[in-house]
Symmetry: C2
Subunit: 399 residues, 2 copies
């Protein structure tokens, strides 16, 4: 069996994702579609709208055969680490392809771009350093660096091109036996606010979900399975998760930490803890806090990631410890179809990374993911929290 990997968040799984799954299958002619998905908190430093188990079910019902979790240590990170974690996971599962959506749609542009950067690595590094020193954020500095080395064909101002570039770069750098493929995205802009057809961005769909109701616009952009899982989760948890739900916990946490503790947290850098301590008490909401903390260098997303790490109490030492393993310490299985199960059986002998199906396997390194899920559920009423947490100890979902 041949497998194709997808790197996803499914927040929530929508018609654009469905198109992606089908096109990827078509393009690669793979027998098994494997998705590596962020768990409780996402790459932009946000809680997922519903838990990883319900997002898994929605995806399994829509054509994905196997879902595994991207470890927290890689998931809530800049694109470089996010990409590395995702590709190491796909490699651990012996995936033949990775297929990503991009604004470009031409895989040659990506391979060529990575090659160009490697050839001009010194100039690239120097340029990025000088722009960082001038106070630019990392994403802006790297764009300047790409311009400096004359990366002309691939437009690295497009968010999905940037991610794709990180994927291909990781494959080349880590020398992984995975072939990259790309599909031109139907909805070209990730940040589109308007839902104008059956393909809409996850951002625009989430905006239609704020009052506990799915608008008809939202339903139009989602497979039935997703609608079901969104409604089912809402019933069980009584919320769709949003950063503002966590603001009381974040405020509590920051105001009870010493300056030294704050500085020990992953993502709290360059003395920002001082500004944080003086800002937190006047903040009226999470949005207000971010607005007051934002600078050219500390972008919205960088701050959101930092706040996620503060909330989960993830230290620099813990992240460094996780990254110090020679290979991935585990792959956490979330769910599979019969076909996914067959694939796992078939690939068993060639796999070396342990597969963890639930928390009954006491894998010490799972600790960060476990903690993230604790935090994720901590905004629920206690009985709902206790009921949902049981999913951690059940067998993976099999459809």
């Amino acid at each position: 069996m041949k497998a194709c990997g997808l790197i996803v968040e499914y927040n929530p799984f929508h018609n654009g994702h469905l198109y992606h799954v089908n096109e990827a299958k078509e393009t690669t002619q793979a027998d098994c579609m494997i998705a590596v998905m962020s768990g409780s908190f996402l790459q932009r430093g946000e809680p997922a709208i519903i838990d990883k188990f319900h997002r898994t079910k929605a995806a399994l019902k829509s054509g994905v055969d196997l879902l595994v979790e991207l470890p927290y240590a890689y998931a809530v990170q800049s694109s470089r680490y996010f990409a590395k974690g995702a590709l190491l996971t796909l490699d651990a599962l012996k995936t033949n392809y990775v297929c990503f959506g991009s604004e470009s749609g031409d895989i040659e542009q990506f391979y060529k771009g990575v090659e160009q950067r490697q050839a001009k690595k010194e100039l690239y590094d120097e340029t990025i350093q000088s722009f960082l020193q001038s106070g630019l954020s990392f994403p802006l500095a790297s764009q300047q660096a790409y311009e400096a080395i004359g990366l002309s064909e691939l437009d690295l101002f497009q968010p999905n091109n940037i991610l794709g570039f990180s994927y291909v770069n990781t494959i080349v750098e880590e020398n992984l036996p995975i072939k990259a493929r790309t599909i031109k995205r139907k909805s070209s802009h990730y940040h589109d606010d308007e839902i104008d057809s059956s393909i809409a961005s996850a951002t625009s769909i989430r905006k239609e979900l704020t009052n506990g109701q799915l608008s008809s616009k939202a339903k139009n952009a989602l497979p039935d399975a997703t609608v079901q899982e969104l409604e089912s989760y809402r019933k069980k948890a009584s919320v769709w998760h949003d950063w503002e739900d966590y603001f009381p916990l974040l405020h509590y946490r920051i105001t009870t930490m010493t300056r030294e503790e704050l500085a020990s947290i992953h993502g709290v850098d360059e003395g920002i803890e001082g500004r944080l301590i003086s800002t937190i008490n006047g903040a009226h909401s999470f949005a207000d806090l971010i607005e007051k903390m934002k600078t050219k260098r500390y972008t919205y997303v960088r701050l959101q990631r930092m706040f996620t790490h503060i909330l989960t109490n993830t230290t620099k030492v813990e992240i460094a410890g996780f990254f110090s393993f020679a290979s991935l310490p585990y792959v956490r299985l979330l769910g599979m179809t019969k076909r996914g199960q067959e694939y796992l059986n078939e690939s068993k002998k060639s796999r070396t990374v342990p597969l963890v199906s639930n928390l009954n396997h006491k894998q010490k390194t799972l600790y960060l993911d476990e903690r993230a899920l604790h935090v994720y559920y901590s905004v629920l009423p206690v009985e709902k929290r206790l009921a949902l947490r049981k999913q951690e100890f059940q067998l993976p979902i099999i459809l």
Copy 2:
């Protein structure tokens, strides 16, 4: 002017406290009544029902002339440290007397008891150690030790006698120029559940306050000023504080701490962190958690204190740091009458400990109290929290 000190929690100030203030004034013929009061969290490891500012106002309206805060590091502690902090504070204010309520009512019994214990210190210490080693809690072990040294007159099974004994013991041990006096308590049992007259225990009164309403029984046991302050606080904060309000924060906190972090917290001893980690996830409420954690050695109150320190993130190192000062680092002024103000002016020259009137004086050692108040308010809706916190930066209450 002569001053008499009272060691109080006023949770809330009731007719028994009023009786105590008046009798203490009568007994000592003091001109100024000074109360040293626990702030946000109390000696039994519980949040106060309303904040320290509103409790201060109620007391000032009922005959107390000056209220200062017992620092958190002394307030949420066993009676020995609680007593020491309170008496050092009263001494810093050059108080002539301390007058406490007791079941005994005879001050000679206390002085004699302290003398007896000092004379048989070795036997006392040996007995207490052997009973602690056999698994008894500290309060029970010390009662056994008192029996062993033949402390016959003073009944140290009575909670207010125990506290009074600690006060007198501190005065003798620290050689403080404070004269102790005692008043026989009207309501003899601290833990009485029933309100049967206009004198009722704070415990029984709090039970009448659970639904946001003051019952007529409760009103009967409270001065009007207290009723006003309880209602005023309820309007501003929308809660009367109870441990259960803090359970979601406590659960969040414990589930995001490493075992090492837990063990660093003041009061987390003898490896109890292991049991805590395995128990926290099954707990349905704070009461349920305590019930599941309770042992002969880890009593209800000891656990409540431990949970308060976890909630406020107070480490062993921080407490040790606070206690390492040669004298009290500050006295925090909460409020005063004109008479209290006169007393402060008059005693100014003989005082050496700095008086802090609000958080605008950046006194570094106030940090633990500030944090405790942050935690205390953290269960309020954000706008109410922001409004109430402003009290920290205002001048002390003057009536």
